[in-house]
């Protein structure tokens, strides 16, 4: 440790530097907040049904098996782009029907395969959840994930 540095100088550098970097971080976060609101997500399509879908997602803690834009439990497939994987961008009706049928068919009871529970979602909850997936797929994620597999 450099002898030129005294303890009080080290302390002042710590407090001054931390404050500086915190303010910079807070400012960039504020800008990111604005950018998300106006550019990377679509606030107009963020309907009540999408919001309800997020609540359904949270109520059943889907995140503790699946990941959503790469965050979550890694135990089950990525769902941030599941709408795209089901072809929702080209054929929304078919993707919606496919996703709902898949959730209704759980558990698959295939021997040796990870089992997803049956959550007994109502038709309205299923639709809301699919709306949430559709909206999430519309977020500008800087081209992540690299492949459709998620």
């Amino acid at each position: 440790m450099a002898d030129g540095l005294t303890k009080s100088a080290a302390r002042n550098i710590f407090f001054g530097g931390s404050l500086f970097f915190f303010l910079l971080f807070a400012a960039l976060t504020a800008h990111s907040h604005w950018y998300m609101k106006t550019t990377s997500t679509n606030e107009e399509t963020l309907t009540d049904s999408v919001k309800h879908g997020k609540e359904v997602w949270e109520e059943h803690s889907c995140i503790n098996c699946h990941s959503l834009i790469g965050e979550g439990a890694y135990f089950a497939p990525e769902l941030g782009n599941v709408w795209h994987r089901y072809g929702g961008r080209e054929n929304p009706e078919a993707a919606r029907a496919g996703l709902k049928a898949w959730m209704n068919a759980q558990p698959l009871n295939v021997p040796g395969r990870r089992q997803m529970p049956q959550f007994n979602l109502s038709e309205e909850e299923l639709d809301a959840l699919v709306d949430f997936f559709q909206w999430t797929d519309s977020i500008d994620t800087q081209d992540w994930p690299p492949t459709k597999a998620g």
Partner: protein
């Protein structure tokens, strides 16, 4: 133990270690499901096991930090704890909240964001208990001696409480949700918790090496400066793909790379002080955990963190088993081992005996650290294979997972070894004390407690 109220730490350590044991049990269950996918699928789904595993970790680490604080604060502030009774009440509230969360998870009652699954009433109780803790320890500090160690420790704890308040903020816009979710998750473990870790490390080094406090405290400021200068903007490595602007890719890459520095400084600090120290402290196992914590934190948080932090690497590795590998070794090295170091150091004083069961304690250290390393290696290999098959070749997720079974079996084996080591540690610390102090190294210089 110079101050009677340092004893307050004992029940905190006991509760923390009981929850640690439970955390390992849930970890074993989760690892079992990876190997036998139908295991308990009806009885306890994987998501419940996993949230129990992660939440128990967070709760016991917080209780452990509280115990460490109650133990060192009287010595550093040179006065008794403001109110031991308040400490016990506050521990009771925290334990009830934690147990309440754990039980409600088994019935599917939880909130839905990762690591913040606690039901609302649990979050409120945690907040109340933590504020009581902060009041109690801050009052002790305010009336007593202020050192860099206790000031930085309290700063870290207060900031942890401040950022915890983001747990109550859940925007409907998923991108915003993620933006602020990291203000707790990242700012805690890669920011203010490092203040707690570094000050505990400094405390242990002052006590066990006998190096001059001025030297150690200067290092301490440099380390936590490096931690926050890099760690705050380092949050950017979580903002690459969640809908945030593209500038986070260079900013996050650069600053999160610099996050290695505080961990490198801590490992250099710990070994330099150990080498310079003239004191031959008899508690060898506590010294082992202290040096081990700095070392494994450097590899787990520093090296394994850097491995997938650059945006052009993370583009492929994000959200694979590579993340799981890093998470396990980073938490183990930086926080689990540091609390174990303080417990190992404090318990002989709390029990008013010479350091005891040291050989057994060191067995536990090597088995646990070896097993955690092995677990990290297997998950890293799994993550590399997964990254290539899924992110480069575009293979379907479930098909890729089928290719990883061998790694998951080895991970389960490592988990069993961790469980054995945890039992050895609990017995070494709380079991019958058999004096084991090294020959020729038992003399203590004055004031070495």
């Amino acid at each position: 133990m110079k101050y009677e109220t340092q004893w307050v730490a004992y029940p905190f350590f006991a509760v923390a270690m009981a929850l640690f044991a439970l955390q390992v049990v849930f970890g074993l269950l989760a690892a079992t499901v990876y190997v036998l996918p139908e295991f308990w699928a009806e009885f306890m789904p994987f998501n419940v096991i996993r949230m129990s595993h992660t939440n128990l970790l967070i709760v016991w680490l917080l209780i452990g930090f509280m115990g460490c604080t109650y133990f060192l604060m009287p010595e550093e502030a040179e006065r008794e704890i403001h109110s031991p009774m308040l400490a016990y009440i506050q521990l009771g509230i925290f334990a009830i909240a934690g147990a309440g969360a754990l039980v409600s998870y088994q019935f599917g009652i939880h909130e839905g964001r990762e690591f913040l699954e606690q039901p609302f009433w649990v979050k409120v109780l945690i907040t109340i208990s933590f504020l009581m803790f902060l009041y109690n320890t801050s009052m002790t500090l305010l009336k007593g001696r202020k050192t860099a160690v206790n000031m930085i420790l309290m700063l870290g704890l207060w900031l942890a409480a401040v950022f915890w308040l983001f747990a109550f903020f859940n925007p409907a816009n998923l991108a915003l949700d993620k933006l602020y979710w990291w203000w707790i998750v990242h700012i805690w473990v890669e920011g203010v918790w490092e203040l707690i870790m570094a000050s505990l490390l400094a405390y242990l080094l002052i006590k066990m090496t006998g190096v001059d406090r001025e030297v150690i405290e200067k290092w301490l400021y440099v380390i936590i400066g490096l931690a926050l200068f890099s760690g705050l903007l380092g949050t950017g490595h979580h903002y690459y793909w969640i809908g945030a602007p593209g500038y986070w890719q260079p900013i996050g890459s650069i600053f999160s790379t610099l996050e290695v520095l505080p961990f490198f400084a801590m490992v250099m600090f710990a070994f330099t002080m150990f080498w310079k120290g003239r004191r031959n402290h008899p508690n060898k196992s506590a010294m082992l955990w202290t040096l081990g914590s700095a070392t494994v934190a450097f590899f787990g948080a520093g090296v394994w963190g850097f491995m997938h932090t650059l945006s052009f690497v993370n583009y492929y590795s994000h959200g694979t088993q590579v993340t799981a590998a890093h998470g396990h070794l980073a938490f183990y090295g930086a926080y689990v081992m540091m609390i174990m170091a303080v417990i190992t150091y404090a318990m002989p004083q709390i029990r008013r005996v010479q350091p005891y069961n040291q050989i057994l304690n060191m067995w536990s250290f090597w088995i646990m650290t070896g097993a955690m390393s092995f677990m990290t290696f297997t998950l890293t290999f799994a993550g590399v294979v997964q990254t290539h098959l899924q992110r480069v070749l575009g293979m379907n997720y479930m098909e890729v997972q089928d290719q990883l079974v061998l790694f998951y079996i080895m991970r389960l084996g490592a988990g069993v070894a961790v469980a054995v080591a945890a039992l050895l540690f609990l017995y070494a610390v709380f079991g019958r004390a058999r004096e084991q102090v090294p020959a020729g190294g038992t003399q203590m210089t004055s004031g070495s407690y």
